[in-house]
Symmetry: C2
Subunit: 314 residues, 2 copies
């Protein structure tokens, strides 16, 4: 099965908001179109997308806006995992109907210390309600944020029961040893492991991984895709180092999501892009200036990501 | 202001599900009607209610079912805090329009390590969007589950800006020293502190608290209300001890929410009530039997909670 499935670099696209914090479909569509043109797929509605700060209805409208704009849904893996089975099923059904390659599914993350049996029942209930042979679920393991995680034995149990629907995972543990463990345990059987930070992209590819779904790829798509394609080349190590340096700029001294949005605002001359929804907070002017200077110093570049499509002048 | 506000024992009513996990309004209404008849208020859609395992739409329908059935909404404090401001505002607006006494509001709980500024902006944005002088927000502090908590300095800042809308809190830290701190810092100024477990009800009343919003009160409403009313009597200590013993049965050897539902099923001869939504899991038959025997041994009783209203025979 795995060769039919989506692979490569998927971007957890940041979500643009208007000044009143409402969603901004034109900016979103333009940005997504640009990321596709950079050969990346779209993991819309992830952690970086502030997806849990959106209502299910807002997520649904945003996916509709991508479909209406004619963007290629076969290169999309929207996040659909909510605390409630009802919302998860609704969003997942929409993703399948829209032709999406798969869905990235958080475990229900409100209750802590839940049993593996409870999580199994959650995913099982969702898969059975959907009841569609096109369903491809990618389990989303992000314990630093969700706290509730996806254990190897849960994957094993789900894979045994749903070998087609359970297609892979995103490991955002942030710990290479953990990603390595998932790769070694499951990649050979055709379970697709995407690593949650491109820092480990080369290592992931070497162990048979499917690619990366990484926040920074949203502002640095082309170089990330290049490494995905050329990981066996002699240039790979140097490319990986360059990706790491860029990632470090966004993550070391700033809150990552506001910093990514600030970069899009800066390089697109489009201040609106910096807006985040509470509980996140935009960078301070001083932080924004310091980020700009670090990026400039590192020679960071972003091509026109479609700002001309929405009428932003440069 | 505080004397106009809701006080006493509020029950975070468990949510009944049909065998297909859909919500079951008739059982819900009957149970809520019974709790009101026991002099308790209703903190529907709390943690014990599995509220985050419901979609916003399901919560909305359930509140509507209470209103349609003519239940007294002035004794209700529905949980309305979601990760997304959009959902929180929608549910809160409905609660106000329905005449609810207030709303119990979780902080947005997906992102961890968020700043106080971010949480302030979240609550502030909600209050401003609602823009209704009838709004009474009770901040919901439950760090063992939500991880994201409500700090004293956040309360201070919110109270300063919104002295009418910020009416109080529920402290489910589970730590008496923490509840005491909130009471000592804020109760005198008219900020209503409800303690999240009735174990601390007597101590809370002695320090000027407003009552309790406690899971066990949902199956043990009358004795809990009695202590609230008689906390200054010589019987109070003994009453408190008896409440604690009952609570211990549900919490010590069982997962609390499934155990509460199992008790309702058992004492109402209504097996349907035991159902929980994943990721929670029902008690095993052996656990259910052991719970029944412990409750019997302790002389635990539950009057007819309205099962006759929905046609359950005994």
């Amino acid at each position: 099965m795995q060769h039919d499935r989506i692979r490569g670099v998927l971007c957890p696209v940041t979500t643009p908001f208007r000044s009143d914090l409402s969603i901004d479909p034109p900016r979103f569509v333009a940005y997504c179109r640009w990321l596709l043109s950079q050969q990346c797929g779209l993991a819309v509605f992830g952690t970086t997308s502030e997806a849990n700060s959106l209502s299910a209805c807002e997520r649904s409208m945003m996916l509709d806006s991508l479909v209406s704009a004619g963007l290629d849904t076969s290169r999309m893996m929207p996040g659909t995992g909510c605390c409630s089975i009802s919302d998860t099923v609704k969003l997942t059904e929409q993703a399948i109907k829209s032709g999406c390659a798969g869905v990235l599914m958080l475990p229900p993350f409100y209750y802590k210390d839940v049993s593996e049996e409870g999580l199994y029942r959650y995913f099982s209930e969702v898969i059975q309600r959907i009841g569609d042979s096109r369903l491809r679920v990618y389990l989303y393991h992000i314990p630093p944020v969700a706290i509730v995680g996806i254990t190897p034995s849960l994957i094993e149990r789900l894979l045994k029961q749903y070998p087609i629907a359970i297609a892979g995972m995103k490991d955002s543990s942030g710990v290479w040893e953990t990603t390595k463990m998932y790769l070694e345990e499951f990649a050979k059987s055709g379970f697709d492991v995407f690593v949650g930070r491109e820092t480990f992209l080369l290592d992931t590819m070497r162990l048979g991984g499917a690619g990366t779904i990484s926040a920074t790829a949203t502002v640095n798509p082309s170089p990330t895709y290049k490494l995905f394609m050329e990981w066996e080349s002699t240039e790979a190590e140097a490319q990986q180092e360059k990706l790491n340096a860029t990632r470090d700029i966004f993550n070391k001294n700033y809150s990552a999501i506001p910093a990514l949005k600030q970069a899009i605002a800066l390089y697109g001359n489009d201040a609106a892009w910096a807006k985040v929804r509470p509980p996140l907070v935009e960078l301070t002017p001083a932080q924004a200036e310091s980020l700009a200077s670090e990026l400039k110093k590192a020679g960071f570049e972003m091509p026109d990501w479609g700002r001309t499509e929405i009428g932003v002048e440069i």
